[in-house]
Symmetry: C2
Subunit: 102 residues, 2 copies
Amino acid sequence: MSKVYKALADPTRRKVLQLLRERDMNAGELAEHFDFAKPTLSRHFAVLQEADLIQGTKLGNQIIYRLNVSVLEEALLGMLEMFKISGSSEQAMAQDGNGRAL
Amino acid sequence: MSKVYKALADPTRRKVLQLLRERDMNAGELAEHFDFAKPTLSRHFAVLQEADLIQGTKLGNQIIYRLNVSVLEEALLGMLEMFKISGSSEQAMAQDGNGRAL
DNA sequence: TTTGTATTTAGCTAAATAGCTAAACATCAT
DNA sequence: ATGATGTTTAGCTATTTAGCTAAATACAAA
């Protein structure tokens, strides 16, 4: 699961996720949004796939990448949980005098 | 701001944040929770400080570390925003047929 | 002022990372 | 079969990172 955090630590990969949030795209389309060489981006896609954040499907000539929304969601909400920050729960967050959740 | 993501990518540093969520601690106390050499941890504290996630205050002999709750909160909620995942907003998330937020 | 305690800085090594180019692979079109 | 297109793999380099030990710094206590 730590792979997810590592994957999210890179700005290029975060941008890839943002792009895929809007619609599925193939590697080439994604690459158009960056100034890096194709193999560099290919590696980024692989990292995201290893973290299960995206999923690639071969379609003829190309590979369509799709965002794995649930995994991303769970990762981020899990992070909120980990630090006991409100976010996922409806009830107002109880706090002590130092701004810490109880 | 990307320093925050990098800082969060390391499991040791995440554990430090979790420990500090409960109470302020000095470097030595924190170090007791890990098997690494002191200088290694000192470096981790520095990374967290550079990301403004924690703040160290010299108190006589020692340095008391304190979690910067607001920065951590904003970082995580900002991440949810970035990917347009519910979390911070009250209204239920609208979704299309593919599980994507609209 | 000397000794002890807490922490960091300096300097090293090994491993991981992000970038590149060139080459390979797979599929489509001719 | 040949060539064109889309994508990855192989292999390289430079940078960053996490770990270590030893030494330096800062303060407290005696």
